[in-house]
């Protein structure tokens, strides 16, 4: 029997995340080759809105509701998922390369003694449903093309924006509630509270567009210029380690080797020299724009479009121009 392709549905405040729709869209493409069914695996409590939004994107939704599954902890998710995984033995199990996916998948894979590839940037299946992936090594200096052995499920976490979200006219998932009993005493970790980041912007790993400034911005107060640009583009704001080390921006916004890898559709760098440590974090961005006063700045070697110029002139003009054209 053709085993299923599973996608771990991630959600935040009742809303399913973009990465989940991307992975389901990719899985549906795979299923056209393999004839397998695609299932979204949804855990938590108060999942009505999330369930509804997933219906056009899968064949099945396994719904695991229990107050102990909200908020996410690896203990609770693992306890709930292992019996289901053992029962159904899916062929593929995908998750986002997110704080949840990277936390949970290694534990599950170790327990199931199966294969797991983290942080994938390309995936394909053959007709038998065998998964081949590509992933960056050494921060993206080299990529490895890797294939899974016989063990199932074939588990992978995938970077944001690896697949495009596609609507599926006519698809309507069957919702399968799975009774989920959890023993509270077996759950060891407890989330006390979530200190939410100020502002409503997506994390830089999730955002479609990221605009960033480096030390060329000269001081924390000048980030206002970048924030204004981000506002027009509905982008998130990133930065370099030099800026974080100065204390001008929070560590969560650092892009690069010791910060985050981003896969934005559009990345714009202002006053960023392009040290290899930074570049390694933007390798899988689609379009890169660089603006720097130094014509020899390394960043230009990696950009698609470059302007040699003063960011203090370029950024406000760019914000105005975008306002004008995006309004029309």
């Amino acid at each position: 029997m053709a085993k299923e392709i599973w996608v771990l549905a991630e959600h935040q405040e009742g809303k399913v995340k973009g990465i989940t729709f991307e992975l389901l869209s990719g899985s549906i493409e795979f299923s056209k080759q393999t004839g397998q069914k695609v299932a979204a695996i949804l855990l938590g409590s108060g999942l009505e809105e999330a369930t509804k939004s997933l219906i056009p994107f899968a064949d099945k939704i396994y719904l695991l509701e229990n107050p102990l599954l909200s908020p996410y902890t690896s203990d609770a998710y693992e306890s709930a998922l292992l019996p289901l995984l053992k029962e159904h033995e899916p062929s593929i199990f995908l998750g986002g390369a997110t704080s949840t996916g990277k936390d949970l998948f290694p534990r599950l894979a170790m327990h199931l003694e199966t294969g797991y590839a983290p942080d994938c940037t390309e995936l394909s299946v053959n007709e038998e449903g065998r998964l081949t992936i590509k992933r960056p090594l050494f921060g993206g200096k080299v990529f490895a093309e890797m294939v899974f052995s016989e063990a199932r499920p074939q588990m992978a976490t995938v970077r944001n924006h690896t697949f495009l979200i596609r609507e599926n006219p006519g698809r309507s998932a069957e919702v399968l509630p799975i009774p989920t009993r959890l023993d509270p005493s077996s759950l060891k970790k407890r989330v006390i509270h979530l200190e939410k980041s100020p502002g409503a912007r997506l994390d830089i790993t999730e955002a479609d567009i990221v605009v960033a400034a480096g030390r060329g911005i000269k001081g924390p107060e000048n980030f206002k210029l970048i924030e204004d640009l981000a506002e027009v583009l509905n982008a998130s704001v990133g930065t370099t380690r030099a800026v974080v080390d100065e204390g001008w921006r929070d560590l969560k916004d650092q892009i690069g080797k010791s910060g985050k890898n981003i896969s934005a559709r559009l990345y714009m760098a202002f006053g960023i020299s392009g040290a290899i440590h930074h570049i390694l974090g933007i390798g899988t961005c689609k379009t890169i724009v660089a603006v720097d006063t130094d014509p020899n700045a390394l960043i230009f070697n990696y950009a698609d479009y470059g302007i040699v110029g003063d960011l203090f002139k370029i950024v406000p003009a760019l914000t105005e121009e975008l306002k004008r054209v995006l309004a029309s």
């Binding site: 093309e145 724009v289 110029g309």
Partner: protein, 260 residues
């Protein structure tokens, strides 16, 4: 507090990596102690300074012990090298199995590791080890407080929309992220001493590892081939004067790159 810290010597981010054959890489001999592992060592040392106890640095590597020496020079008490040519080609899960075999009957309160090693960037070993030892883990922590009397830790973990504050009973395993602390720079004198420090060597046979559970025969995901990063098209420099250049950039982003 008895603390084990998992450490690894990895290629420096500036080292050149060359694809030698489809399945073989040539790595320039420029290594450093994994950035995140130093943060883990620092965290362990601070706990020891506060509560007493012992810090042991532990590596699975039959070639390099520099990360262990780095740990000793920073102030770790003991260093253990699990070394065996039979481990060549092991993936992170096999490394976790080896570490499990070594640690399963050792007493400890805490295991610390880096968020990921800056070579294959997998972030698996620590978490898989916690699974095999059946202890809780928290991945990518940026805050840590321990209450030894309650055998409990309060940790802060980075998530996409903020910072999650958790409690976790000990023994546990935490992987450490930048922001947790700034690792100390060892004194030259201590670096010299660490060069001569005793390193305990353990082989995999003595750990009772089955040969098919380690090395390249245990792989569940295999490299077909290594590839250079996808080539980027050459940069298009917009040479027109300001403010014409800004207008052109916006036009290119809309009409050529189609990203707006």
């Amino acid at each position: 507090m008895d603390i084990f810290v998992l450490v690894k010597q990895v290629p420096d981010p500036e080292a050149t990596i060359r694809i030698k054959t489809d399945t073989e890489l040539e790595i320039e001999n420029k290594y450093f102690t994994n950035f995140f592992d130093e943060i883990a060592i620092e965290a362990a040392l601070r706990l020891k300074e506060k509560f007493g106890g012992k810090v042991t640095v532990l590596t699975v590597d039959h070639r390099r012990v520099d990360a262990l020496r780095r740990g000793i020079s920073m102030g770790a008490d003991e260093a253990v090298q699990i070394a065996d040519p039979a481990l060549e080609g092991s993936d992170p899960f096999a490394i976790a199995r080896i570490l499990t075999a070594y640690l399963k009957d050792k007493p400890f309160d805490l295991i610390l590791a880096g968020r990921q090693a800056m070579d294959d960037d997998s972030g698996i070993v620590g978490i898989a080890l916690a699974e095999a030892l059946n202890i809780p883990h928290v991945h990518s922590i940026i805050g840590l407080e321990v209450d030894p009397s309650k055998k409990e830790a309060k940790v802060i973990r980075e998530v996409e929309n903020g910072k999650e504050h958790l409690t976790c009973p000990l023994p546990a395993l935490f992987t450490c992220q930048k922001g947790l602390n700034t690792p100390r720079i060892p004194l030259v004198m201590n670096v010299m001493k660490a060069m001569k420090a005793q390193i305990k060597k353990v082989d995999s046979a003595s750990l009772g590892m089955e040969p098919n559970k380690v090395g390249s025969s245990s792989l569940q995901v295999k490299v077909l081939r290594y590839l250079p990063p996808p080539k980027r098209p050459p940069v298009k420099m917009i040479k027109e004067d300001y403010p014409e250049n800004v207008k052109i950039l916006v036009r290119l982003l809309r009409e050529e790159a189609k990203v707006l």
